[in-house]
């Protein structure tokens, strides 16, 4: 398995991620794109602010990518995560996985985003008209 993990404060390029995982050996590619939603629980979101503990975030993403590679026969796996200030509609994360058969691509991609959201030290503040809230911080 080949892996590319990147954290960037620049807009993510989805096509570049897809091109990177494409290969003549693969039959299926699954791609997940997390985008900034305009509302949370009915309140209008103005923007998102992502902060990261970059070194550890890359280490954790490397780890979960390796786990995905052990669980499923993946060929190439890429994760690009954005930091900084994002407008509504922008991509916060792009995950693309290629595999010989589609089941592995789907399952590894789902595993990546589900686990990333649980363990990777990246924090998202939703900014509303009346202030900002760090997502998931409080019970």
């Amino acid at each position: 398995m080949q892996t590319q993990i990147k954290i960037s404060n620049q807009p993510l390029d989805i096509q570049t991620c897809i091109d990177w995982v494409m290969s003549p050996e693969s039959g299926g590619i699954d791609v997940f794109i997390g985008t900034v939603r305009n509302t949370t629980k009915g309140k209008a979101v103005l923007r998102l602010e992502f902060e990261t503990y970059e070194k550890m975030a890359v280490t954790e993403m490397d780890k979960i990518a390796a786990q995905a590679g052990e669980k499923w026969p993946v060929q190439k796996l890429i994760v690009h995560h954005r930091t900084g200030i994002l407008k509504v509609g922008e991509a916060a994360v792009v995950i693309a996985v290629s595999a010989v058969h589609r089941a592995a691509a789907f399952e590894a991609c789902r595993y990546m985003i589900d686990t990333l959201k649980q363990t990777v030290p990246i924090w998202k503040k939703e900014v509303f008209e009346d202030g900002g809230v760090w997502v998931a911080a409080h019970p």
Binding site: G34, F50, E51, T52, Y53, K55, M56, A57, T59, H81, A92, V93, I113, L116, K117, Q118, T119, V120, P121, I122, W123, K124, K125, W134, V135, A136, A137, H138, P139
Partner: protein, 80 residues
């Protein structure tokens, strides 16, 4: 020993800055660190949870802390 702790997300707000220092015994572990931090910053106890990372890895309560370790407080993550 004096330990410097990196802070992110809401922990940065609670500490009022990107890092804080605490004084710990030389054989301190993660649990001792959490106790010291919560005494100084009781708002930490209101978080859904938080972890301590030692040298870029999640640490367990019994893991030791050394003066040259890179220590960080990891409030609930919300990437993706």
């Amino acid at each position: 020993m004096k330990i410097n702790i990196l802070a992110f997300g809401i922990a940065k707000d609670i500490f009022g800055g990107p890092s804080v220092s605490v004084e710990l015994g030389n054989d301190a572990n993660v649990s001792n660190l959490k106790y010291a931090l919560e005494k100084e910053y009781p708002k930490l106890k209101q978080l859904a949870s938080y972890m301590i990372a030692v040298n870029n890895e999640y640490a367990l309560p019994g893991d030791g802390i050394h003066s040259n370790d890179e220590i960080a407080i990891i409030p609930p993550v919300s990437g993706g």
